[in-house]
């Protein structure tokens, strides 16, 4: 009986180590950005476009954006104050420069510490990662805008942004 318990324990431990390593590997890659887990944020941010992972922008960007929702890239995306507060808290806690997301800082390379960029598609890293996409590709009808990640990254909703 004891050896059985021991092998189960070893199995569980190995699985846990593996899971932690996988998470680290995912967090350290340019192709995985943890999807939004907060249901309210997912619902509110995801009704017009994909709920972009919080790790795609620094906290200061999310704070600025959440304060200007009545003119959100030209659209009225305003929400009530309580909703805005909850969403801001989530986004800031999971931003690219927040604790626990240290590896995401690489994503912000080239962004000035005083700047609060609003367009993910204007981050130096984003531009670099998409330099191989020809201008003609972007005009395809099913893409519509650069904000439509899922048009090319089919698993973007689950956090995977590998080259497709």
């Amino acid at each position: 009986m004891k050896p059985l318990i021991r092998s189960i324990a070893v199995g569980v431990a190995l699985f846990a180590v593996g899971a932690v390593m996988l998470e680290r590997a995912k967090a350290g890659s340019d192709e995985f950005f943890a999807p939004v887990t907060d249901p309210l944020t997912r619902q509110e941010c995801g009704s017009c476009h994909m709920a972009f992972p919080a790790g795609l922008l620094p906290a200061r960007s999310w704070q600025k954006m959440m304060g200007e929702l009545d003119n959100h890239f030209g659209e009225d995306a305003s929400v009530d104050a309580a909703t805005a507060k909850q969403i801001t808290t989530y986004l800031v806690a999971h931003a690219a420069d927040s604790t626990g997301y240290g590896d995401m800082r690489r994503w912000l390379r080239g962004v000035s510490a005083s700047a609060a960029p609003q367009r993910i598609t204007e981050l130096p890293k984003w531009v670099r990662e998409h330099r191989e996409v020809s201008p003609r590709e972007w005009t395809r009808k099913e893409i519509a805008t650069k904000a439509n990640c899922v048009a090319c990254h089919v698993d973007a909703e689950r956090g995977y942004f590998e080259d497709d």
Partner: protein, 137 residues
Amino acid sequence: MQTLSRTLFLVALTAMSAVQAAPRDDILAAYTAQAKAEDATFAGFSAARGEALHRDRHSGGKADSPSCTSCHGENTRAAGRTPVGKSIEPVAVSVAPTRYTDAAKVEKWFRRNCREVLGRECSAREKGDWLAFMTTQ
């Protein structure tokens, strides 16, 4: 036996749609009260006026969204598409029975979309007309 289970199923189905219709009726009742307050001559909502509001091209709003149909499409029973390319659930109640059952959500989208399309907020009568049209769809 089969007839009985079919009857039970139908009863359950009717009960379910009643459950979903009730909040929608409450929302319409609130708009009715508001419309009466805004206009003493108000004599009920009109699905025909709602359809016109939905399909007409308006000025005053944004150039790329002159009509509700700019995003929701001409067919009320088909999915629409946001400017970013995301699919929008059809607006017709017949194909989207859970729609218009959350008053805060309804208000939020009227506020945003009326500003986008008309360049102003909608009146209670316009909101009720539009909802009346969608419940016939």
